[in-house]
């Protein structure tokens, strides 16, 4: 199982702002293109990819900082399951 967690946003401004917050809180993440499968109509082309073990910390950080985001979605990776780097 290669489940990935993507935080989706309405625009790039929200995404970049949350990336700063998560890094400040020591939560590893990286910017990745938002997968089409979970993007829907409302989110933008960028997402923050967060390791499963850190996703709850990320949720708490979002709540604590009242950070804007669209939603969090999980999706199984399709290409080479072990390739991910998060920082």
């Amino acid at each position: 199982m290669n489940l990935r967690y993507y935080i989706l946003f309405a625009n790039y401004e929200q995404g970049l702002a949350l990336r700063d917050i998560l890094l400040q809180d020591g939560i590893p993440n990286r910017i990745a293109p938002a997968p089409r499968a979970i993007q829907g109509d409302l989110s933008c082309g960028m997402s923050l990819l967060v390791e499963p073990e850190y996703i709850e910390q990320a949720r708490r950080s979002i709540e604590e900082h009242h950070a804007a985001y669209h939603r969090i979605a999980s999706l199984e990776g399709q290409i080479r399951p072990n390739r991910d780097r998060y920082c």
Partner: protein
């Protein structure tokens, strides 16, 4: 980085463009505001840039070249300022949201009736079908010159022959073709040509504009400072001032001016030939790989330097992510602001990975991109 996202913006610019911007930022005042050396340098630079744009696009009147921030702004000015309420307008499935959204707005707010010329599964238009959509109350055809997704080139001259004698306005989005494909407004029958400065023209972001045929009236979208006719309550009626409220991006336009020198000296045909050679080389390489599906029609060699593809059933965003993270190759996945074209190609759910080539790309870079796609397809 191997930069293959040139349909979004060209990253590599001629050094003369960079030098011109730096020079302008240390010497330029505000154009059309006063007569001191700095103001005059700005006015002169912008004046010369208009003349070069007019020369490049076959626009008879340099004073009908209007500068904007980008082609989206130019298209908004054209669409909202030249199309009457409750009229009939034709556009195509190939369009970018910079055309679609202003038209949808007119449809919702001004009662404009909109018809679409459909693209087939290969992203090609049937111009006979487009001509069949023309009605007695058709006031405008708004059409791209080149698809930003497949590189399909639209025969604008043929559409120009349809509109000329019928009194229909022809507004063309040249965002993808300007700089790599010859454009002659007069010969092609174009009434309004909208362009951006930062893609094929190799200028700075924040530059763009429109060329307006003599006799075409466009109502201004913005009103404000013009540096002239200051006691009038409304925007001056003369072009280009009519459509240029506020300070222009003089620093950017100085860069665009240098970029135009580079293009005019090198030749649009020469630039286009090289870019198309790279795209064709890439297409020939990737189309042989099992599991790779390329979109668009490649039988016609007269096409833009763009190749969109998917690898197996992989989400296009994940493929683009692997290209970026593992191979340092910049591409664009997803929808490319071209929703109707993705519907036509059947790629709404998967998106597509777009590789777009520029004058500064090399065969070696193209070969590395082919190899990266091959490895992803094998993964």
């Amino acid at each position: 980085m191997i930069y293959l996202d040139n349909a979004a913006t060209t990253m590599h610019k001629p050094q003369t463009v960079i030098d011109a911007v730096v020079h302008a930022m240390t010497s330029m005042g505000n154009a059309s505001r006063g007569a001191h050396t700095g103001a005059l340098e700005a006015s002169r630079t912008i004046y010369e840039t208009r003349r070069k744009i007019a020369k490049l696009f076959g626009c008879k009147r340099p004073d009908h070249v209007v500068f904007t921030c980008n082609s989206t702004e130019a298209l908004n000015i054209a669409i909202q300022g030249a199309i009457p309420a409750k009229s009939h307008v034709i556009t195509t499935d190939l369009e970018h949201n910079s055309v679609l959204r202003p038209l949808y707005r007119l449809k919702e707010e001004s009662g404009v009736c909109l018809d679409f010329a459909r693209a087939d599964r290969q992203g090609r238009l049937d111009l006979q079908e487009l001509e069949g959509l023309i009605r007695p109350d058709t006031k405008a055809i708004v059409c791209t010159h080149m698809s930003n997704l497949t590189g399909e080139i639209v025969d604008i001259a043929r559409i120009g022959r349809m509109t000329k004698d019928r009194g229909i306005l022809l507004c063309v989005d040249a965002s993808q073709s300007a700089g790599n494909t010859p454009i002659d407004m007069e010969q092609m029958g174009i009434d309004i040509l909208c362009f951006t400065g930062h893609k094929g023209l190799m200028g700075p972001q924040g530059t763009g504009g429109m060329c307006i045929r003599e006799g075409v009236e466009i109502h201004p979208l913005k009103e404000g400072g013009s540096g002239v006719q200051s006691y009038r309550h409304r925007q001056p009626v003369e072009y280009p001032t009519r459509l240029e409220a506020g300070t222009l991006n003089g620093h950017g336009l100085a860069g665009l001016s240098a970029a135009l020198d580079y293009i005019l000296e090198t030749g649009v045909e020469t630039i286009g030939r090289k870019e198309r050679m790279l795209a064709e080389h890439f297409y020939e390489g990737v189309s042989q790989i099992e599991g790779v599906k390329v979109y668009g029609c490649f039988e016609d060699k007269n096409r833009g330097p763009v190749v969109a593809l998917n690898v197996r059933e992989y989400d296009s965003s994940e493929v683009s992510d692997v290209l970026s993270v593992d191979y340092d190759i910049a591409t664009r996945p997803g929808a490319h602001c071209a929703p109707r074209m993705h519907e036509a190609l059947g790629t709404v759910d998967q998106g597509a990975v777009r590789f777009s080539f520029s004058w500064f790309n090399t065969v070696e870079e193209t070969d590395q991109a082919i190899e990266a796609v091959r490895k992803i397809a094998l993964a």
